[in-house]
């Protein structure tokens, strides 16, 4: 239980700091810390496969892509047309209510989750072997798996086309 609270605290604090940072590079690095804590939670949920791909694919590949773009654009600071020292509740537009809306959403979700007094204990028998997951992936979910490859190719071509310079000839 103590380990759960440790990982949960790291995940929540790192995520909060991600959206509190003004420099996107620190945001990306803090999000990697949050993903590490989530990976620990996956291990506690007896899902080592998800824990490992969380580190390798998410923290390793996707976040490096973000880091590349942040460094490529070289625009570290948020440029806003208002004074940045203004209190968040005094800022223009939806930003005034964004935090309030998010707190309301969190309260509603937590209320809905804790309303039913089920113990929610985990029964025995978790599927944690990679072989079982792989077998399921290539039998029952084979079609979805192949469609995923089409999605990846489409995303790759789309990224190349979108990020290309106009005067590429």
């Amino acid at each position: 239980m103590g380990l759960f609270y440790l990982f949960a605290a790291v995940a929540v604090l790192a995520s909060l700091l991600v959206i509190a940072q003004r420099n996107p590079i620190y945001s990306v690095l803090l999000l990697i810390a949050s993903f590490g804590a989530l990976s620990g939670l996956y291990v506690m949920l007896e899902a080592p496969f998800v824990a490992v791909i969380q580190i390798i694919v998410y923290a390793g590949a996707i976040m490096v892509l973000f880091l590349f773009v942040v460094m490529l654009l070289n625009a570290p600071h948020e440029d806003t047309d208002y004074d940045e020292r203004v209190h968040p509740l005094m800022r223009p537009g939806p930003m005034r209510f964004g935090g309030v809306l998010a707190i309301a959403l969190a309260l509603e979700l937590v209320w809905a989750l804790t309303k039913r007094a089920e113990s929610g204990r985990f029964a025995g028998g978790a599927v944690s072997s990679v072989a079982a997951i792989g077998r399921l992936l290539f039998t029952q979910y084979a079609f979805a798996f192949e469609v995923t490859s089409v999605l990846i190719i489409a995303a790759m071509v789309g990224a190349v086309v979108l990020a290309r310079r106009e005067d590429w000839r």
Binding site: I19, V28, L45, V50, Y58, E118, G120, I133
Partner: protein, 100 residues
Amino acid sequence: MPSLNDYLVLSAVLFAIGTAGVFVRRNLITILLSIEIMLNAVNLSFVAFGRALGSADGQIIVFFVMTVAAAEAAVGLAIVISLFRHKESLNPDTFTELKW
């Protein structure tokens, strides 16, 4: 042993943090990062529910969510790069040509 509800509450809190980031921040890259936080909150619910039901389906859905997140990050960041080339800005409030 933490219960299913503990994981679901943590997932709800993380999702709300991601929502707050999308609303509050005015930087396209931070908004994309907030979307990643929300996707991860949902992944945590999937794995916790799969563990509670004793099935591997939750973990497989997480696998698909991660591939979709990778595709979304690649296309989203390409759009960010091409937007930055046009306006030299990452503030979404500067891209209002489609607003009538």
